[in-house]
Symmetry: C3
Amino acid sequence: MGAIESRLAAMGFTLPQPRKFPNPNRCGCVRVGNLLFVSGHGPHHPGMQIKEHGKLGQDMTVEEGYKAAQASALAILATVKAAAGDLDRVKRVVRLFGMVNSTPDFPDHPKVIDGASDLFYQLFGPEAGCHARSAVGMAGLPRGQAVEINGEFELRD
Amino acid sequence: MGAIESRLAAMGFTLPQPRKFPNPNRCGCVRVGNLLFVSGHGPHHPGMQIKEHGKLGQDMTVEEGYKAAQASALAILATVKAAAGDLDRVKRVVRLFGMVNSTPDFPDHPKVIDGASDLFYQLFGPEAGCHARSAVGMAGLPRGQAVEINGEFELRD
Amino acid sequence: MGAIESRLAAMGFTLPQPRKFPNPNRCGCVRVGNLLFVSGHGPHHPGMQIKEHGKLGQDMTVEEGYKAAQASALAILATVKAAAGDLDRVKRVVRLFGMVNSTPDFPDHPKVIDGASDLFYQLFGPEAGCHARSAVGMAGLPRGQAVEINGEFELRD
């Protein structure tokens, strides 16, 4: 197990299985040079006790949303590991696009997506883990999931 | 006509004219190295009998949305062809961001955006056509159009 | 002061301070090679008299939204300047993702985001300033802000 995955375990987290898609038209990420363009990932993590579906501002608290963003980050990491071979090959978390299933007047999208950003920051450290980000409110997400996050990662040469 | 465009014709599709913009401040895509960063494209295809405007979950079926995503994919291809000269120069469909104009409880964004993903997958084949993706619900889209898709494409050297 | 920033001043605009984030997990942009991946920026510009918060189609006019997009563009430029050292190092405005806090039936997202696109086009000129773009409607944005824009910029070697 690599250094980053050991740190993840020490933080108390596990990786889910990399997401499988119901249709071969798409996959978890595509690599171009050293850049990984990552699909939208929701909070699918059978090993975590989280509320996966819901709408912030309606039937889900910011704390529950934070956990859902955390689970989405772990789903992304499982995809990145499968593509890169080892999480130690991540040079930089480049950017996240954090989407929150939320009501028209919900104000706290950043506090929800911090569940992912805090995890990446703690895991990869203050340089490699600090990333560009948007955290915004969606009218809806697939099957009513609470959060979806996509983004870009840079790998080492 | 190149191999990919011949395959597109054999699949029964035609390309619309590349989208023209009402203001010169923007264009259909911008190339950086071998990467094309593509604008959001809606279902504008005069040659197709489709429902271009509507909101999924309200006044439009998943099947109509699928067709709108298909038309959006063809609009993207017209832009990519204009930029690359020939669709045979596409090395990889990298990633799509699929936006569905939909109600707060609509659950089937992936089934709608499959209209674009299936087309790209069948057209470019299982390696070059398989892409990263998000399929999510928007509060609204320009002029009430049903679907908008942007993304990244990789060209050959 | 560089040529681009002089032109910006001649256009009657000033740059705000680069945005500071409440949490070190994120930053205004991340550079990979010559590409800047830019965070979502809202209309935070203390030097401008604008309506920063509101929902298009409900309590904000297109003209007010246009000004908010303009302020968001200036916030992006402050981030890009801080990262690149000088705005003259921008080779190309590559792509904007323009998000409008709006009601389900608001139709004019492009007219709002033109506030940013027109500014970039006039500032960088018809080649470097013409960019790919999406302009779409969000269910909500952080703290009720009216507009948020992210994107990609290319720097010179």
